[in-house]
């Protein structure tokens, strides 16, 4: 560990808001508003946050499924945010994605063999015979067997489909896998199987994961480091132990207090946030969290807090630690 695989700097994504037929659009939804993060080789970075906080948009920008409005994405020493279409297509074999909904992400008109071999065909890897072998190999990696190859996705359960999705992502030996809520559509009993599979594969192939989820316990299970997002920004990012053991940002504290604990006698204070997540098209001034923050100070209403290293390796964007 140590070498950076991917680094995003000042990533922004603004979606224009269409107002009317003739008016120019001059307002934007700031889905992601200046995010910087780095993932080391072989590491898993978890990204948590409420729905609508921009975590999926971040994942999609890193996958370059969305073009960032601003910012740079350095992957293995290349800025992939500036590649043209053809270069981008070729680079895509380096990073693959696992999608949230295993029912929608597999083409219902293709057999499993076609689905898994598609990345190989697209990148002109292996001959037909070798591809066939590779498909069987991949199916076995993910806990399926060769005779599933001729079937269609609708014949499988959610967990099995997600395994197929993983096999498809693995086919071209990518370095980075962006997993966008890969288990949130699955039953709890299947979730852990898929998570364990992902961890086993990581060990075996030295994969690097960007793991996006709203489920704190899932993220704790799989991640090495965790970033907490709120309204298009990272408010706290650090390794798993210090985030779960010693959260600094008031938003993280509130999130942590919401995780259920398997001990009915344990008493603890739950921080209940007031109000809803504000609209990203019109975010609050200063620290975007200040209207809901329990330790809000005067400065929070006007000055945007920067992400600062408060303890070694522990970054947070909060004026409490200035």
């Amino acid at each position: 560990m140590g070498e950076l695989l991917i680094e995003a700097k000042g990533l922004k994504k603004y979606f224009p808001v269409q107002k009317g037929l003739f008016s120019k659009n001059n307002s934007f939804v700031r889905a992601v508003d200046g995010i910087s993060l780095a993932i080391k080789k072989g590491e898993t970075l978890g990204l948590v946050g409420e729905s609508g906080c921009g975590k999926s948009t971040t994942g999609r920008m890193i996958m370059r499924l969305l073009a960032p409005t601003d910012g740079e994405i350095w992957f293995n020493g290349k800025d992939i945010s500036k590649l043209n279409n053809k270069q981008l297509r070729e680079t895509r074999k380096e990073f693959q994605m696992i999608f949230q909904d295993p029912y929608a992400s597999l083409n219902p008109r293709m057999t499993i063999r076609e689905l898994i071999s598609e990345p190989l065909i697209v990148h002109k890897m292996l001959t037909k015979k070798e591809r066939e072998k590779r498909v069987h190999e991949l199916l076995e990696y993910v806990g399926l067997t060769s005779y599933h190859a001729n079937r269609y996705a609708h014949e499988f359960s959610g967990g099995q489909r997600q395994r197929i999705g993983i096999a498809r992502a693995l086919a071209v030996n990518p370095k980075l896998i962006v997993a966008d809520e890969p288990v949130s559509a699955l039953d709890v009993s299947i979730q852990s199987q898929v998570l364990n599979l992902m961890q086993d594969l990581q060990k075996e192939f030295g994969l690097t994961y960007l793991f996006i989820s709203h489920d704190l316990s899932v993220v704790e299970h799989i991640s090495d480091r965790v970033g907490v997002m709120y309204l298009g920004k990272i408010v706290e990012i650090t390794d798993k132990e210090s985030l779960y053991g010693n959260p600094l940002h008031p938003y993280t504290k509130a999130l942590m207090s919401a995780v259920p604990v398997a001990d009915p006698r344990m008493k603890r204070e739950r921080i209940i946030l007031q109000g809803d997540i504000p609209s990203p098209s019109n975010p609050p001034s200063g620290c975007t969290f200040h209207p809901r923050c329990q330790s809000c100070m005067e400065i929070c209403k006007t000055v945007v807090p920067e992400l600062k290293e408060v303890e070694p390796g522990h970054f947070t964007a909060c004026h409490l630690y200035d």
Partner: protein, 300 residues
């Protein structure tokens, strides 16, 4: 757990039975064969195709040789549908005319479908200016009443069966383009297309392998329905004297030649009219059945 094993990864996976892969085609057939009307229509269409192929060999009389001893004779055992003003056996003419009507219907719809589908896919996938141009051209074509457009095209190209095919094809293009464009737009947003983009598939592959198969079911349904309309339009054009020329046993031309004897010999128009009616009805019913069988939302 009987033997006390822990649930391992593979437990959920082994249960699927081998054999019998449910392909989309077998699913389609399972749903289609439940629909009696559509099955009857399909049988009739199949019969039409057979008649069109072997027509000249099974027709009891010649379709074009006049027989002046039997002018306008009413239906009898000898002439099942009677004879026309030249004494030609109408039943034989209908049989030989089948291939003309089917040929016109199928080729014109096929041409229209191919061009319309390509335009619709490009328009829906790339959007932007290309989309605007293609869709505005379609709007222009839509603004003409169908038959008028066809007459206009024939006025430019001159009468004849080949030109009827072109005319009918042209006014099928915009409808196909629109249908395909709208399904392209919805499929383009699907996660599996995003997934194909994320693995690095080029646009050509995405359109051809992921989007086109998804639009195919609406194309097939509309194709089938359209054959009926095309046969009808082609017959109308022939009726107006713009299509098949006498003595060709085209059904529309037969109607046209019989209209002078509507009172004295109604069978001359009745039987070709019945042939057109049944054929168009069969294609429409078949189209309905296909739509129900291909619609993924209709479960059983």
């Amino acid at each position: 757990m009987e033997n006390g094993t822990v649930i391992t990864q593979s437990d959920e996976l082994i249960q699927s039975k081998p054999e019998k892969v449910k392909t989309p085609l077998s699913e389609f057939w399972r749903k289609f064969k439940k629909q009696k009307m559509a099955m009857v229509a399909a049988t009739f269409v199949l019969l039409l195709i057979i008649v069109a192929l072997i027509g000249p060999f099974i027709a009891p009389y010649s379709a074009t040789e006049p027989d002046y001893d039997n002018i306008l004779s009413p239906p009898s055992l000898e002439h099942l549908a009677g004879t026309d003003a030249f004494g030609r056996d109408i039943f034989s003419r209908i049989i030989e005319g089948t291939s003309i009507s089917l040929y016109v219907g199928l080729t014109s719809v096929f041409i229209g479908a191919v061009i319309g589908t390509v335009l619709g896919l490009l328009s829906g996938y790339y959007g932007g200016r290309l989309d605007s141009i293609i869709m505005r051209i379609c709007d222009v074509l839509f603004a003409f009443p169908g038959i008028l457009l066809a007459i206009g095209i024939i006025a430019i190209l001159g009468p004849g069966l080949e030109n009827v095919i072109i005319a009918v094809a042209v006014f099928g293009i915009p409808t196909f383009a629109r249908i395909v464009r709208s399904s392209t737009l919805s499929i383009k947003e699907s996660v599996y297309v995003e997934s194909a983009i994320s693995i690095g598939a080029p646009a050509r592959r995405i359109i051809w392998k992921h989007i086109f198969p998804g639009t195919l079911s609406s194309i097939i349904v509309y194709f089938t329905m359209r054959i009926g309309t095309s046969i009808l339009t082609a017959a109308s054009l022939s009726f107006l004297g713009l299509g098949a020329q006498p003595p060709s046993p085209e059904w529309g031309a037969m109607l046209s030649s019989g209209r002078d004897f509507l009172n004295s010999a109604p069978h001359v128009t009745f039987f070709p009219g019945l042939a057109i009616f049944l054929t168009v009805l069969a294609f429409n019913l078949l189209g309905d059945g296909l739509r129900d069988a291909l619609d993924p939302k209709m479960k059983d």
